[in-house]
């Protein structure tokens, strides 16, 4: 006879992989669990010993190491380990484990773990570490959601319904509408909506007919209510309005009216569309008016994040907005300074060129001038234009680049031939140091003027970088300078050297090293794509990565980018300055798990990069 340990069962019921199990299976698991205590600083598993058990941390803390002795993960209450050895044919411990604090472990027999793993897919998804299908599931779910690309009716409501009794007089109704600042009143009798009156009803049915204004609103209200459900999409609501020729729709949730959706609510919502913002940028006549659009830019960003647009769509929409600011500022600058004396091309660099812009971003730009450029005669004009644009961008929410990568810097305001010389030097005589400052120029996009200049440079890069192993090795070395953290432990971020930090910079430790390493592969195969997701697609097609690793990179970039974007959106909505750093306790369990998976992919991809682009190696 076996008896149930209530404490064990209770613990399992509160922790993640187990909550994915059916109730009766959970009881079986609770009955099968044994217990073991380890003193702080004692060894739990050593590499290569037979793997018999699966372990769950009940209390305390455990460190898991790689075979080479580097820290792999740090676990606390609810963490689990030992699966890697059990799922392998040879059943040997792959990751040694060590008690960091006094630790109590729940021990599940390996056979039972394998049964659970094979029979319960949701459990397996949550446990699996080396296979990245978990992140894939997360990312593809959100990618599918994007296709709907629309908001629910409920999310558009700005306030609850303003209601009135049918016996209220027309004049009192008009007074209430004015006071509440609404264009309609929902008429309620016995808790049920029986009609609606609008501004237009008062005008056309009462005032125009010289009706006495002390008559009850019942006499002028529209009784045939056209309603919409709270979970319908905005475009469905618009359809209903058009079909029925009405501008106000009572919104019903479980038969209760929770508000009235008006056409102006839909218009306000649409105005936060990024295309609308772009349109507005080109209508502004001076820098002050452009600067006033900052709030709309932020609102459109927040909207895209809230509606689960993919990182690629958000990145390209925000880049389109940034590009439009540049283009409009250049138009305004040319209007003020006169037409340019020789042709030029204004360049966007870095994240804007890659179409991966989020809300917090420096302005990185440059100018390619026509080869007829004569500094004495022409440079004063272009210096002035560059300053006009740069100052304008700073006012529109794009801070100056601290590394002086701006067209205001004479070094980055040069004729095409000089630029060609720059790239030849960088690529043909590379040093890690010279490339450290110049890698940003390998993501370039012509946004205004003679954009074919930019294209000339891109063709040059694609042709000369491919197959240049010294250059690729130097780029690879730089791409390895920023490493991902290992993961999370309690409310801290764990660094590869085991240190704890309080916050993590998702750009510096996540998206930046990822785009760096994607860029190296893209250069190696001569890809001319600018966007990292497009580059990953080219890399997969070229077949230079082990099977599945390309998709992993895509998923990791998508997830970290979205975590960054959500963080920005949250900060904007709560009125804070948006930045790239995030504290682990702001993350849900699920986000922590997925982020950790993404960091793991990045770490492994960096190892592969290091191995593949060794100096002198033929690629």
């Amino acid at each position: 006879m076996e008896s149930e340990q209530l404490e064990v069962l209770d613990f399992l019921q509160r922790h993640l992989p187990f909550t994915a199990l059916p109730e009766d299976t959970l009881h079986e698991v609770a009955r099968a669990i044994d217990v073991r205590y380890f003193k702080a600083d004692s060894s739990i598993l050593t590499f290569g010993e037979p793997a018999h058990n699966w372990f769950i941390v009940r209390s305390g803390a455990v460190e898991i190491f790689r075979r080479d002795g580097t820290l792999y993960n740090r676990l606390t209450e609810g963490g689990h380990f030992g699966e890697a050895g059990l799922l392998q044919q040879r059943r040997q411990v792959r990751f040694p484990a060590h008690a960091l604090e006094d630790t109590l472990l729940y021990v599940l027999p390996g056979e039972m773990f394998i049964d659970l793993f094979e029979q319960h897919e949701a459990f397996a998804d949550l446990v699996e570490v080396e296979d990245h299908s978990r992140l894939r599931t997360v990312v593809s779910k959100s990618e599918q959601a994007n296709e709907l690309m629309s908001a629910s009716v409920e999310s558009l409501l700005v306030r609850g319904a303003v209601i009135a009794d049918p016996t209220l007089s027309v004049s009192a109704a008009a007074a209430r509408m004015t006071e509440e600042g609404v264009s309609s009143l929902l008429i309620i009798e016995a808790d049920a909506p029986v009609g609606i009156i609008t501004d237009r009803d008062i005008r056309t049915r009462a005032v125009a007919h010289s009706m006495a204004l002390d008559k009850p609103v019942r006499e002028i209200m529209t009784e045939q209510l056209v309603t919409v459900r709270h979970d319908h999409l905005a475009f469905e609501a618009m359809n209903i309005m058009m079909r029925n020729n009405v501008h106000h729709l009572p919104v019903l949730k479980h038969q209760q009216a929770i508000g009235v959706l008006s056409l102006s609510d839909i218009i306000r919502y649409e105005s936060r569309n990024s295309l609308f913002v772009v349109g507005r940028i080109f209508h502004q006549q001076n820098v002050d008016d452009l600067a006033a659009l900052t709030e709309e830019v932020q609102a459109s960003f927040v909207r895209m994040v809230r509606e689960d647009f993919s990182a690629k769509i958000i990145g390209s929409a925000m880049a389109a907005i940034g590009r439009s600011f540049k283009q409009r500022l250049l138009e305004l600058g040319e209007a003020e300074l006169g037409p340019p004396p020789i042709p030029y091309c204004f360049l966007a660099l870095g994240s804007m060129a890659r179409q991966e812009q989020l809300i917090v971003t420096d302005q990185d730009n440059a100018m390619i001038l026509d080869n007829r450029f004569d500094p004495v005669r022409h440079d004063a004009y272009f210096a002035a234009l560059a300053k006009f644009v740069s100052d304008g961008l700073a006012r529109c929410g794009y801070p100056y680049c601290t590394g002086e990568v701006m067209a205001t810097n004479p070094k980055w305001r040069q004729p095409l031939s000089v630029w060609q010389g720059y790239f030849k030097t960088w690529i043909e005589s590379p040093t890690a140091a010279s490339l450290l400052d110049s890698s940003i120029f390998f993501d370039l996009d012509g946004v205004h003027g003679r954009t074919e200049f930019a294209e000339t440079l891109r063709v040059l890069i694609a042709k000369t970088a491919k197959g240049n192993s010294r250059f690729l090795a130097s780029m690879a070395r730089n791409a390895l300078q920023r490493t991902p953290p290992i993961g999370f432990f309690k409310e801290f971020v764990v660094e590869p050297d085991g240190r704890h930090t309080r916050a993590i910079n998702l750009k510096r430790r996540g998206t930046a090293p990822l785009t760096d390493l994607i860029r190296v592969h893209a250069l190696a195969i001569g890809s001319r794509s600018r966007n990292s997701f497009d580059r990953v697609a080219d890399i997969i097609k070229a077949g230079i990565l082990p099977n599945g690793r390309g998709q992993d990179l895509h998923d990791a970039l998508e997830f970290i980018s979205m975590a960054r974007a959500r963080n920005h959106a949250n900060e904007i909505t709560s009125g804070q300055q948006a930045d790239n750093s995030i504290e682990p306790d702001m993350l849900s369990d699920f986000e922590r798990k997925s982020l950790r998976d993404a960091f793991l992919i990045l770490g492994n991809a960096q190892k592969f990069l290091k191995f593949r682009y060794q100096p002198g190696r033929l690629n």
Binding site: M1, E2, S3, E4, Q5, L6, E7, V8, R31, A32, I33, D34, V35, R36, Y37, F38, K39, A40, S42, R58, S59, G60, E101, D102, T103, L104, V107
Partner: protein, 253 residues
């Protein structure tokens, strides 16, 4: 288990005199003298010698819940046991019995151990499970927290049921804590008055002792949970203060 007030009970003085922990020899003698077959079988299964290293000792964590604190009047309502070694607590092989206490179940005790009148009404007599219980613990050294409870209640129950006492070797995790924390004399009058030192003895209750070893809080007063809690505490005590080679003699009594 109900500790607290019991910590001040005169321990063990009701138990028949024992040799200096020569449990192995004592069991051989008792196996001869005992008349009840079940008890005879228990003694006949023997005990490890006192010099056996802990790593080779079969252990059995146990807890009993009772109707109250007085072993003369109160009865046992539940028993939880689970086999263990210093390497592994076989929670998966644990057993739990609810039995009729032979005294009315006081409402206060129901609120403590959560066993209700109706559960008790359907439960077997202790006599019915005695064979099972003795068979399960035979050959094992019991691990308890506050041995006075288990010793006295089991002894009284057997005396009542089969008119024979029982002698059981035990490792008492509470006593192991007391060895560590109760061998310093309280501060002197001078220290207390002049140096404002307060006499605040370290608590050796189960939950407080567990906390000192980083063990999680478990809801107390379920015989099985308390047995598990005691088992974990012993593993922690051995990990911190003893070793797998420590002879049994250093711990049991």
């Amino acid at each position: 288990m109900l500790h607290g007030g019991l910590l001040r009970l005169p321990t063990d003085n009701r138990i028949p005199a024992q040799g200096a922990c020569d449990w192995r020899g004592r069991f051989a003698v008792l196996a001869q003298q005992t008349k009840d077959e079940r008890l005879k079988a228990y003694y006949a299964a023997g005990m490890p010698a006192g010099n056996t290293p802990l790593k080779n000792v079969p252990l059995m964590a146990m807890d009993v819940e009772t109707t109250g604190l007085n072993p003369a009047k109160d009865g046992i309502v539940s028993v939880g046991i689970l086999p263990m070694s210093i390497d592994r607590i076989q929670s998966s092989a644990s057993r739990h019995w609810i039995v009729q206490p032979h005294v009315p179940l006081a409402d206060e005790s129901v609120t403590i151990h959560g066993i209700t009148h109706s559960q008790v009404a359907d439960a077997p007599e202790l006599a019915d499970i005695l064979g099972d219980l003795l068979h399960a613990i035979a050959g094992h050294v019991l691990v308890v927290h506050c041995r006075a409870i288990e010793r006295q209640f089991l002894n009284n129950a057997l005396t009542r049921l089969i008119h024979e006492p029982i002698e059981i070797p035990m490792i008492d995790t509470m006593e192991l804590e007391a060895r560590l924390h109760r061998n310093q004399p309280p501060p002197s009058w001078w220290d207390r008055v002049v140096r404002k030192k307060q006499y605040r003895p370290v608590s050796i209750r189960l939950a407080d002792s567990r906390k000192r070893y980083g063990l999680p809080f478990y809801k107390p007063h379920h015989a099985l949970t308390d047995a598990l809690a005691t088992a974990e505490l012993l593993q922690a005590q051995v990990a911190h203060r003893y070793s797998p080679e420590t002879p049994l003699d250093d711990l049991w009594c």
